[in-house]
């Protein structure tokens, strides 16, 4: 692919000598190819992982993802701890949106021990609020971050500032900024502080302004359009083949959203419709996320309006030190900012889980989809493609 923005015709040796497909035979001894390692420590990689690129000129002939640089054995750590001790570890599986993992542990243990219906209503609304706030802070970094991969840095500055404001709200609601440890089996760990809704509304108004500004900056931007449009196209037939979920699937017209398809918490009481696009390229994915930003702001407003003023935050449960869960297994899923996530949770009647397995969207997106997408792409676009697929290495290596 010739980078149209270059505005000149590249020399012949810069171009691939053949049409690249995943089956293209690469003979390294021919000296036509070069191997480049992108990562594991590279500012453009969203965490610690490496992509081994085989390039010819600027064109990627083959890409292979290497993970394992930050494996900390989270699943095993949780399997060796009491049920209540699981959630502070689970959040480390994803720095960007830790709340989803808290919810999995809480929900799975509640389901298996028969307390799923006992969770107080107020607590469930607070869970939704914290999950949507997590999605919002993720998008505030993710949407302008996509511009950042094309060297459009200013949007990232704006987004990080606004994300900090949401972290301020997290701080007063949950007692922590990044690792909130808020959703616990049986409910949540705090009520809504006084004046929270007004302060949140102030922040949401700032974000409303940002949404307009970032639209002008990115989506009415000739550079962004030139580079993102037509880049790394996901077609609808790939969705089931690769297990693509979330915004990546919705950007190519496949409307999949757990919140709608299989509503959990009180999402069926909220008025929203997940946005979709048809192009399936980097631009479309960013556009969908921008629309989700608008929608998430709206959802937080809806939650704050609909939730009860006060109530119990946790149901009565067994003593956490002696808590045993009967033999059973469950799969809990939700729609995270990156798409459908799930946790398979097995108990054997003891006081610790028998097996935990996290199904994260990054596993498919950053390994199989990324490797497929990079073939034929330009070296300069690798980061853009990675970010557009919402790669999160810690979540791959649980």
């Amino acid at each position: 692919m010739i980078n149209k923005f270059l505005g000149f015709t590249p020399k012949k040796e810069m171009l691939p000598s053949q049409t690249v497909t995943p089956d293209t035979e690469i003979d390294l001894s021919s000296h036509k190819y070069q191997k480049i390692w992108l990562g594991p420590n590279h500012p453009g990689v969203t965490g610690n992982m490496a992509v081994e690129l085989t390039v010819q000129g600027n064109t990627i002939m083959k890409a292979q993802t290497h993970v394992g640089y930050l494996h900390r054995g989270f699943e095993k750590l949780i399997e060796r701890r009491l049920f209540v001790q699981g959630f502070p570890t689970s959040i480390r599986m994803c720095v960007a949106e830790p709340d989803t993992n808290e919810y999995f542990i809480a929900r799975a243990t509640e389901e298996l021990s028969g307390y799923a219906d006992a969770v107080p209503e107020y607590a469930n609304w607070l869970r939704m609020l914290s999950l949507e706030m997590a999605r919002l802070q993720g998008l505030l970094r993710g949407v302008p971050g996509q511009g950042g991969t094309f060297a459009l840095g200013i949007g990232v500055q704006w987004g990080v500032y606004l994300r900090d404001l949401i972290l301020d709200r997290f701080e007063e609601l949950t007692g922590a900024r990044v690792y909130h440890m808020f959703i616990i089996a049986g409910g949540v760990r705090g009520n809504l502080p006084e004046g929270f809704k007004a302060r949140m509304e102030d922040n949401l108004r700032d974000i409303d302004d940002f949404i307009v500004k970032i639209k002008k900056l990115m989506f009415h931007n000739s550079i962004f359009k030139t580079r993102a449009k037509g880049l790394a196209v996901i077609t609808p037939d790939m969705v089931d083949k690769f297990g693509i979920v979330g915004t990546n699937a919705r950007a190519c017209g496949v409307k999949r959203d757990v919140r709608k398809d299989n509503p959990y918490l009180y999402y069926d009481q909220l008025d929203f419709d997940p946005p979709t696009a048809t192009d399936g390229d980097v631009y479309a994915r960013t556009w969908i996320r921008w629309q989700e930003l608008i929608q998430t702001v709206d959802l937080i407003r809806q939650i704050m309006a609909k939730m009860p003023e006060t109530g119990d935050i946790r149901c009565k449960m067994p003593n956490v030190l002696n808590w045993k869960i009967p033999k059973g297994e469950t799969y809990v899923r939700l729609e995270s900012g990156r798409g459908e996530m799930g946790m398979y949770y097995v108990t054997d009647g003891s006081d610790k889980p028998r097996r935990i397995n996290l199904r994260g969207p990054s596993y498919n997106h950053a390994i199989s989809v990324l490797e497929h997408m990079l073939i034929g792409a330009d070296v300069a676009d690798v980061h853009a493609i990675m970010v557009s697929l919402q790669t999160c290495p810690p979540e791959i290596e649980r």
Partner: protein
């Protein structure tokens, strides 16, 4: 793409004229009021129960000894030390803290050059943030890690129980026992306080695991009278239970009873699997088949000694049978515990009075060692005018006579002097007898101590009142009014205080505030005395005595005479669990003596 797409991004330049949003001084930024910052611990309130250590998922907390904190009943003397190299600030330690002493302040910056400083003891190591009020505390709104409410044992209503001596506390069901056992945080503060150091967290765990046979094995490690203790133990463990600092303490006594009740006596031998067939050829005599004597016999039998218990009364149990009414401790439950000890080869000779039938010195010659646990069977008198009347009784005598089936004098109006558990026992026993005889109760208990400092268990007072007895505390007895040789009633004056500033017994009265309790019979229950008449004068000279007249013993309850060990109520207590502990310790002492 059009010209607009080239120009629009330049609108970002509008920000040049805006105020920057950067925080100028991030080090002085105040965190949110709920922020989970650095630890603080209220050292005075903390009891070192270690639940923080148990719940910490990173093993960041260790319990360590701290200068100025003494180990005592209800306080391990340890305090949590936090390692900030491991801590993840989840604050589960705060949420489970049984005393609410641990908290996180909202201070969050700490710069230090020495990494070792980041291991510190909150509340002890001086830190600037302790003065901060804000930070993470245990959330309210129904948030609790263990239930604070005790599962009550069902009881017969007062109307159902008042006309008989039937046991009125019904016992736990499986579901109730498991629910109550679930509340335990396994801190072990109770074990340290229990005179017998019973493995309380272990047997409560056995209940949770529904392994009551294991529970029984744990009980018998330290206590051979679980049925009895499960009913009438003074439960010092419950007084110090860490869960009780912020809710109801665990019903440790009832849980013990549950284990013993659920295991049938026929299976004890199989479950406990204790072999006493191998004798070591040595013989030990035990005087008194009370808790201390039975306990000593049990542990000595396990060590291979041939034990013979000499009991004055017709049945075993001592004060447990002849001092505690049947409605609190049914005789078949005493028999269950005693019979198991007898199954181990222990022999009891009933109706033998040491001192008159056999001399103590003779026992010393016939046996390798002697353990004496003769208990407190004598009543104490107030010595007020009128106590010499025939219708003025001691509670201990009456209680014994009720058990022996004697026909005791039960008039229509009775007054009991005393505010302890024995006073409540005799009041409630007499109330039952009145109900049976007259169909109504008119029995009043009056004590020197006011209601708040009455030595009786609170539940005893409440239950006595439920049974229509009157408990009227705070009166000092002055005289018993006698008319024509018959008791007419008790004159009392208001007691203002019982103890002086030094906590010494020195009652003060308001002589003008008088009251008269009409009664046909007065029962004195102000304490019990020991009967040491079995010790001859020459023998007494060989022993040493404390200032309070008790026989002086060493830590293994060995007296001044090498072969004589003394324990039970006459040394410590008075209560059953001290007796059991004494008997156990004395058995070790006897074994040390004879196996030297």
């Amino acid at each position: 793409m059009n010209i607009k797409d080239i120009l629009t991004p330049f609108t970002a330049w509008a920000n040049v004229v805006k105020e920057p949003v950067t925080i100028k001084d991030p080090f002085n930024r105040e965190a949110a009021p709920r922020y989970r910052g650095f630890h603080d611990n209220d050292i005075e309130a903390c009891i070192g129960c270690g639940t923080c250590e148990a719940i910490c998922e990173n093993q960041a907390i260790d319990l360590i000894p701290v200068d100025g904190v003494e180990t005592k009943d209800g306080d391990s003397g340890l305090r949590p030390q936090v390692d900030y190299g491991r801590c993840c600030w989840c604050a589960l330690c705060v949420d489970i803290c049984t005393t609410d002493s641990l908290r996180l302040t909202n201070e969050y910056t700490w710069i230090d050059t020495d990494p070792d400083n980041f291991i510190f003891t909150p509340g002890v190591t001086p830190k600037s943030w302790y003065k901060k009020e804000e930070g993470w505390r245990k959330p309210g709104n129904g948030y609790e890690f263990y239930s604070k409410e005790r599962v009550d044992m069902e009881e017969l209503h007062a109307e159902e129980r008042i006309d008989s001596f039937i046991e009125f506390v019904k016992g736990y069901s499986k579901e109730q026992a498991e629910k109550e056992a679930d509340r335990c945080v396994s801190c072990g503060i109770c074990t340290a306080t229990c005179p017998a150091h019973m493995g309380i967290p272990e047997y409560i765990k056995a209940i949770r695991n529904d392994d009551l046979e294991e529970g029984l094995r744990v009980l018998y490690e330290t206590n051979p009278l679980p049925e009895i203790c499960g009913r009438i133990c003074t439960h010092k463990c419950e007084d110090v239970c860490s869960v009780g600092h912020n809710g109801d303490p665990l019903s440790i006594r009832w849980l013990k009873r549950y284990i013993a009740d659920q295991n049938p006596s026929e299976k004890y031998k199989e479950i406990l699997n204790q072999d006493t067939s191998k004798s070591n050829g040595k013989k030990v005599a035990i005087i008194g088949a009370g808790p201390s004597g039975l306990s000593a016999a049990y542990y000595l039998a396990l060590l291979g000694y041939e034990c013979t218990i000499f009991e004055k009364l017709p049945e075993a149990g001592g004060m447990m049978r002849y001092g505690i009414p049947e409605y609190r401790l049914p005789y078949d439950q005493i028999d269950k515990d005693v019979n198991y000890i007898l199954e181990l080869g222990v022999e009891i000779k009933y109706g033998v009075n040491i001192g008159t039938d056999i001399k103590l010195e003779q026992l010393g010659k016939d046996f390798d060692a002697v353990f004496s646990g003769t208990g407190l069977h004598l009543g104490r008198s107030t010595r007020i005018p009128g106590t010499d009347n025939e219708n003025v009784y001691f509670a201990t005598d009456l209680l014994r006579e009720i058990v022996l089936g004697k026909d005791i004098y039960v008039p229509e109006k009775i007054v009991v002097i005393g505010g302890g558990n024995v006073a409540m026992d005799i009041t409630r026993s007499l109330a039952r007898l009145q109900q049976i005889k007259y169909g109504k109760v008119d029995c009043t208990a009056t004590s020197l101590e006011s209601e708040d400092i009455m030595p009786a268990d609170r539940e005893e007072v409440v239950e006595a009142r439920e049974e229509s007895a009157i408990v009227d505390p705070g009166w000092g007895p002055k005289s018993i009014e006698i008319e024509n040789g018959k008791v007419k009633g008790l004159n009392v004056v208001k007691c203002l205080s019982v103890f002086d500033e030094n906590h010494a017994f020195s009652p003060k009265f308001d002589e003008d505030n008088k009251k008269f309790f009409p009664a046909d019979m007065v029962v004195e229950s102000i304490g019990q005395g020991m009967d040491l008449s079995y010790l001859s004068k020459e023998f007494k000279e060989k022993l040493k005595f404390t200032e309070r007249g008790r026989i002086k013993v060493d830590e293994y309850f060995q007296s001044g005479v090498e072969w004589l060990f003394v324990g039970g109520d006459i040394i410590e207590g008075p209560d059953v669990i001290h007796g059991i502990a004494n008997g156990h310790k004395a058995a070790v002492g006897i074994d040390n003596l004879l196996n030297k």
